[in-house]
């Protein structure tokens, strides 16, 4: 079962095992609040090919933008 993460949001699902990262992004876009301009990390390594296939033990993270405020 692959793990999908975006910011504080995370989910473990089998739905996307054997499918492309782009399919996972489209399927989880609302649930995890993913936007198209986010960098993608596959098992902590940046991946640019969104057709890369998700395997059952993978961890895919869409890197959410950092907070800008604080002062």
């Amino acid at each position: 079962m692959a793990k999908f993460i975006c910011g504080c949001n995370e989910t473990d699902v089998t739905t996307f095992d054997g499918r492309a990262i782009s399919d996972a992004r489209n399927g989880l876009r609302q649930a995890l609040n993913i936007s198209d301009d986010m960098r993608v990390l596959l098992n902590s390594n940046e991946v640019s090919d969104m057709q890369t296939v998700v395997r059952a033990d993978d961890e895919i993270e869409w890197v959410k933008q950092g907070g800008v405020k604080g002062n």
Partner: protein, 227 residues
């Protein structure tokens, strides 16, 4: 060995962070020199969520905090720098063996500070930022010339190519509009706590198992991430 501790930004995050940090430093032997850096002034709109007396209205944030913290913690040398961090002064502000707490409200300054830290041999950078109810902190450590984790902009294009401006480049009207941007005291406080947690783990020489932490106060959730 820490040379000095630098807190950049004494607003929503930094005003709470500096208070707790100075209390800790006052009663331990990690470092006795604290530099407070901020070119902004306290305004009435700040008092709802920033840790400062309403009597300090119109005073520079770094200078007002320095007076306040010196009155509480007499073993520390606290030096205010009433300026925004820019390409020109960043070399003087951040030197070797600095621990830098970055609590600003723009990515342009984050980029300047990150690039300065990458040019040093030994430095710790702990940066925090938030939106209304969520945010993140990031940690960059360089020791003996070797980076332990990627720079804070590595996976964050919003920092690598900031769309905002350094506050030193803003007009008074633009600065006034920034001060009014919506934030919540509890979100600022959460960012400050997470930044201090990272600091404690580093000075206690325990393994830091993350380089970034995302948080969301409405869900009371924090998620650490390795980079």
């Amino acid at each position: 060995m820490i040379g000095k501790i630098v807190v950049i930004g004494l607003g929503g995050i930094g005003s709470f962070l500096a208070l707790v940090l100075c209390r800790y430093l006052n009663f331990t032997q990690h470092c006795k020199k604290v530099i407070l850096v901020d070119g902004d002034r306290y305004g009435r709109e700040n008092f709802v969520r920033q840790n400062i007396s309403a009597l300090e209205e119109t005073k520079n944030k770094a200078e007002a905090q320095a007076v306040y913290l010196k009155s509480l913690f007499n073993t520390l040398t606290i030096v205010p720098i009433p300026e925004f961090v820019t390409e020109k002064n960043v070399v003087e502000v951040i030197g070797e063996k600095s621990v830098v707490f970055l609590a600003v409200d723009n990515h342009a300054t984050r980029k300047i500070v990150s690039e300065r830290c990458q040019r040093l041999q030994d430095v710790v950078l702990i940066s925090g930022g938030n939106e209304i109810s969520d945010g993140n902190i990031q940690v960059y450590i360089k020791k003996n010339g070797r980076s332990r984790n990627p720079p804070i902009e590595r996976f964050h294009p919003e920092i690598a190519q900031p769309r905002d401006k350094n506050p030193a480049e803003l007009s008074c009207e633009e600065l006034a509009r920034l001060s009014g941007s919506e934030q919540i005291i509890f979100t600022n406080l959460t960012a400050a706590c997470l930044m201090l947690n990272a600091f404690y783990t580093i000075v206690a020489e325990k393994p830091l198992r993350y380089a970034e932490v995302y948080f969301d106060i409405e869900r009371n959730k924090a998620l650490p991430r390795q980079r």
